[in-house]
């Protein structure tokens, strides 16, 4: 029995172990609390499965759409501004202050302003999400562009490599790590903000559902929708970001500290 447990322990990935430990802890705590405060994991899943599947899918799709659009425009804005700031000292001094200001302004401010100026619609939603999430990208790309190794560019020039190939093979690979870091940060901010926007001014989406069930004081649903959100975000990380990173950075030595 003990031997069986220890082989199981060896075979199971740490991530799974920590997940199971968390579920165990949740279940244990729920034993001592009212289901209105902390329902058990099983009760939560059951409550969630009682929802209409097509409706769940609809809300998830709306949320994903908003995150996707916001993320896309934030990336666009951040990449352009970050590159400009990295390349030109003049533009850097013109822009850096504003990027910092936007970075430290609470996302809520942009949500409220956007709703007032553009009305409570999808356009305003995407504007608010993009504006609030672009600074983290701009800052990362800005630093990435500044850190580009001029010695490697000189090498490429000496060997007569065309500007297009220099960009593709020398400059971009140096910026990818910064780009990945900024994409992660941006994704984190944009989904948090999407939930906030949906809670404040949309009539669908995961954020809206969270608020709805909170008003009804149905804790199992609140937790279930949160869990759903977490699963989606984790899937993006595990099935998109991680493989992409592995592919891009296969050449890097493993870091041992």
């Amino acid at each position: 029995m003990i031997k069986w447990l220890s082989t199981l322990n060896d075979k199971m990935p740490n991530r799974l172990k920590s997940m199971l430990l968390f579920l165990g802890l949740w279940w244990f705590l729920s034993l001592f609390m009212s289901p209105n405060v902390l329902p058990s994991p099983l009760a939560t899943v059951t409550a969630f499965l009682n929802n209409d599947a097509s409706e769940v899918l609809f809300h998830v799709r709306m949320t994903m759409q908003r995150i996707g659009m916001g993320f896309f425009f934030a990336m666009l804005l951040g990449l352009v501004l970050g590159t400009m700031m990295g390349v030109s000292r003049v533009l850097e001094t013109w822009l850096d202050m504003w990027v910092m200001i936007v970075l430290s302004t609470p996302g809520l401010v942009f949500v409220v302003l956007s709703f007032i100026w553009f009305g409570m619609n999808e356009f305003a939603t995407v504007v608010a999400i993009s504006i609030a999430s672009f600074p983290s990208i701009a800052i990362n790309v800005w630093q990435g562009v500044k850190a580009v190794d001029g010695k490697l560019i000189d090498m490429a020039k000496v060997f007569g490599i065309s500007p297009r190939m220099r960009l593709k093979k020398v400059i971009l690979p140096q910026i990818y790590p910064y780009f990945m870091a900024s994409a992660r940060a941006c994704l984190g901010i944009s989904w948090k903000l999407t939930a906030l926007v949906e809670l404040l001014g949309r009539s669908n989406g995961v954020g809206y559902q969270l608020n709805y069930w909170f008003q009804l004081y149905e804790m199992d649903q609140v937790i279930a929708w949160t869990g759903l959100f977490l699963i989606i975000v984790l899937s993006i990380e595990l099935f998109i970001m991680n493989p992409l990173e592995k592919r891009l950075f296969a050449w890097r030595p493993e870091v041992r500290i």
Binding site: K151, M155, V158, F159, I161, W251
Partner: protein
């Protein structure tokens, strides 16, 4: 009459600084002939790298005339390759891909590129490491790869900027030996910048000695030791000692240049 590959006349280069104008090199004349191994030798800051960067077309702001292969530098048809002080390999590419990076823009067919890359890696002793990434290799091996990269564009002129100064003495020694072998096998003209007097005496057919403020060539000496030379050859040692002594008497001072002498000379 040997064919002249590089012809420089009245070359001057100055950098504008906040405190005024700094003249890096002034009135440099030199000729480099085909198949010749020339060392440009001098203490740090004498403008030897500036000179090499102009030749490599990294720096186009200069006065004077620079002709390569009978045409102005900007229009030359001759290929020049560069080996830097550091390997400067692209870390995200394998050795083979690093070599492809510089050859793929050449107008030759894919098959002969592949053969050329294979034979050049073999020439520097890196056969079997085609698919290794630079970080998996030692500094000496990386520098070998950089030499292979330079050779595989089949340059008429090979420019080298202190390529062995970042390596330990044993590795540097074996690479110097190999470089002379490769040079004799391939017959390229080599312009080799160094601050190491012994290295220059061992490698060169001809040494151009430079002095700073502003950088200019103060002496030109042929090295008449027959090849193949041995690194421990007393004639090389004697030659470099004389060269250092001569340099010191020319600039009229003993004290400031001690650090620029190769260790072998300093210890004797």
């Amino acid at each position: 009459m040997r064919k002249s590959l590089i012809k420089i006349r009245g070359l001057r280069k100055s950098f504008s600084q906040s405190s005024g104008c700094l003249t890096a090199i002034e009135n440099v004349q030199l000729d480099i002939y085909e198949k010749e191994f020339v060392c440009i030798l001098g203490p740090s800051g004498c403008g030897k790298s500036t000179l090499l960067n102009i030749l490599a077309r990294l720096d186009s702001q200069y006065e004077g005339s620079v002709e390569v292969g009978g045409a102005p530098l900007e229009e030359t048809k001759l290929r020049m390759a560069y080996v830097f002080q550091e390997p400067r390999l692209l870390p995200w590419l394998t050795l083979k891909q690093n070599l492809h990076f510089v050859t793929d823009s050449l107008k030759i067919d894919k098959e002969s590129i592949d053969t050329r890359i294979g034979s050049n890696l073999a020439l520097v002793g890196l056969k079997g490491f085609e698919n290794s990434y630079p970080y998996q290799l030692s500094g000496g091996m990386q520098q070998r790869a950089a030499i292979a990269r330079a050779l595989c564009i089949d340059p008429e002129i090979l420019l080298m900027d202190e390529p062995f100064s970042g390596l330990d003495e044993i590795t540097a020694r074996s690479l110097r030996k190999e470089l002379t072998r490769i040079w004799q096998e391939t017959g390229k003209a080599v312009v080799f910048v160094t601050h190491n007097w012994y290295e220059a005496s061992y490698l060169a057919d001809r040494i151009l000695v430079m002095k700073d403020r502003p950088g200019h060539i103060i002496k030109e000496v042929p090295v008449l030791i027959d090849r193949p030379r041995s690194y421990e050859d007393p004639r090389v040692f004697e030659f470099s000692s004389l060269l250092v002594k001569d340099f010191l008497s020319l600039i009229g001072g003993e004290e400031s240049t001690e650090e620029n002498m190769p260790r072998e000379v300093a210890n004797s």
